[in-house]
Amino acid sequence: MNISTSMIVLTAVMGLFGIGLYCLLITRNLIRVLVGLQIMVKGAMLVLVFVGQSQGQPSLGQSMALTVIVADTIVAVVGLALAVQVKRSIGTLDIADISKLKR
């Protein structure tokens, strides 16, 4: 346990955050957008665990991470359900085709 560990963990957090965000920016497939979101969430979990550890309250950090896991799994479930419904009623997952609401 030294400085470099915390640096590595935070790099991982920022990397996950950045890759997830990048995925949201360039992906046109709705399900893959949800994948991007999940990647971002992994970063959030990791950082919560990390801050818990480094503040000397590991259980608190873990319990927060647990809540985040649950919350974002629910979001993923609802999102996937939405995506399935989109596929059913619109017939595609391409964001280009679900961009009718504009202006």
């Binding site: 950082v47 979001v75 939405l82 419904q85 009623s89």
Partner: protein, 505 residues
């Protein structure tokens, strides 16, 4: 009733009753053979909200009789029932009850209405809890509950492409925002080692990069929900596609809830400098101008109303920003008053627009949007609805003697009171924006009073009594508040003050 018990039930009861609503409604809709019986879920939902109101009453009674803020903990997680909580709970319950009544007709023909009510009650319960959460992380959890419960409410017409699209955008953007909030919370926790906002406040003395980046992440994260420009892009879609009752809730409460949550969170790091207020003011200015300009050329009624919410959020941001950075207590009180009046008048506007939408399109099975031309001469067939809609629009435009003017005035007077040159310029700017907004409200009002009604108006269905009740109440509220704004001082004063001591240096 003991205040601790009442408070616990205030938080727990909506969630339990939501399960009951769902189960009873589901059993009913599975078992009953006769199609036309009404689902008991709607009555249960109304009952649940009323009972929650009773619990709220006991809490309020205690707070006012002891004159102290009520603190309560569940484990290590603390809750604080102060002026802001009082205001938020009351607003959301009142609007929630009205919207429930309104939805009796609006979603009455829709299969699966028990899910609608169950989710609506969860959302209201979550807002109740969010108003009093004193734990930074717990605040986020309440916020997330609210978001999750509102996603399907937005995408309630699940066979409509537009509605699903709105739901998708709402979900993805809210989730992105909430991840940022989590990151922000983590960074703040990393710096201070505590989550309790009050303890947090004490432990901060100087701005450190962690606090600043954490705060910025929270501003952006909650900002998505508040619809700060340019994070607003989900709002017009979601607000226009949701069932009108939900649009009223979203516009009238949910975006303001985001604002309250942000203020709570920023309150924790208030001592890291006055920059947060200026940031909010900046977003406020952007919101006012972009919201109004986007609404100006809008052809769909509900989208126009959604865009106008942007500009109204701008006013609130301005007021709260002045409260935070320039110690303008009165601006904060004004912003809170505007929060209330905006909740009332925007709900009224959405409900009235919903009456037109429902009777012109939805009751006939069509899901076309309500466009401006549909409203031509609507007063011929729907005199009261047109009147209520006009009242709401003129009040939103800030014309006296309606509630919207009074709250805008109080806010702007508070901003001017800082005697700061830039702020005085902003007062003029905000006034100018108010005038600009008349550029789209006024033609809409004119349209409804044309002599020659549009064909679609004459073919419209009659309005049901369940839709009239909430509109009458809200119209009365908007007019009465315009004449006697002082009747809400007991609500706005404590709320503003509890914010003020939160941010006071």
């Amino acid at each position: 009733m003991d205040v601790n018990t009442a408070f616990s039930w205030l938080l727990i009861f909506p969630m339990i009753s939501s399960a009951v609503i769902y189960l009873v409604g589901r059993t009913f809709s599975r078992s009953v053979k006769i199609e036309n019986r009404t689902n008991p879920a709607r009555w249960l939902a109304l009952l649940a909200l009323l009972v929650t109101g009773v619990f709220l009453y006991f809490v309020i009674k205690n707070v006012f009789s002891t004159g102290q803020t009520h603190y309560q903990n569940f484990g290590e997680v603390w809750f604080r029932f102060d002026g802001i909580s009082l205001l938020l709970s009351l607003l959301v319950l009142v609007l929630g009850i009205l919207v429930t009544i309104y939805s009796f007709t609006y979603v009455g023909k829709e299969p699966g209405e028990e899910k609608f009510y169950a989710l609506l009650v969860i959302m209201i319960g979550a807002i109740n809890g969010l108003g009093c959460a004193l734990d930074l992380f717990n605040l986020w959890v309440w916020f997330e509950v609210m978001t999750i419960s509102s996603i399907v409410l937005v995408a309630f017409y699940k066979d409509q492409a537009a509605s699903l699209e709105a739901g998708v955008k709402y979900l993805i953007q809210s989730a992105t925002g909430s991840v940022m909030v989590v990151l922000g919370i983590a960074l703040i926790f990393l710096e201070t080692g505590t989550l309790n906002i009050e303890t947090l406040r004490m432990s901060i003395s100087s701005p450190t990069p962690f606090l600043i980046i954490g705060g910025a992440l929270m501003v952006i994260g909650f900002g998505v929900k508040i619809a700060m420009v340019p994070l607003h892009t989900w709002l017009p879609d979601a607000h226009s596609q949701a069932p009108s009752g939900i649009s009223a809730m979203l516009s009238g409460v949910v975006i303001e809830v985001g604002l309250i949550a942000l203020l709570r969170a920023l309150g924790g790091i208030a001592l890291s400098g006055g920059r947060w207020g200026y940031l909010l003011i900046g977003f406020g200015v952007l919101n006012m101008i972009v919201g109004n300009l986007l609404a100006l050329r809008q052809k769909e009624v509900k989208r126009m109303l959604a865009y106008s919410s942007l500009s109204h959020v701008g006013y609130m941001l301005l007021g709260f920003g002045v409260l935070i950075s320039l110690n303008g207590l009165m601006a904060g009180v004004g912003a809170i008053f505007h929060l209330i009046t905006h909740g009332l008048m925007k709900s009224l506007a959405f409900l009235a627009a919903g009456v037109f939408l429902y009777n012109f399109h939805i009751s006939k099975g069509s899901h076309k949007p309500l466009i401006l031309d549909d409203l031509n001469g609507a007063s011929r067939k729907y005199p009261f609805t047109a009147f209520a809609f006009s009242i709401a629009l003129l009040s939103l435009g800030g014309l006296p003697p309606l509630a919207g003017f009074m709250s805008k005035w109080q806010l702007l007077a508070g901003v001017a009171q800082t005697q700061n040159t830039i702020m005085i310029v902003l007062v003029v700017f905000a006034g100018l924006m108010s005038v600009l907004s008349l550029g789209y409200y006024a033609p809409l009002v004119n349209r409804m009073y044309r002599k020659e009604p549009a064909a679609i108006v004459m073919e419209g269905e009659p309005v049901s009594i369940w839709m009239y009740i909430p509109m009458v109440i809200l119209t009365l509220a908007v007019v009465v508040l315009g004449f006697v704004p002082s009747i809400l001082y007991w609500l706005t004063g404590p709320a503003g003050y509890s914010l003020f001591i939160f941010f006071g240096q």
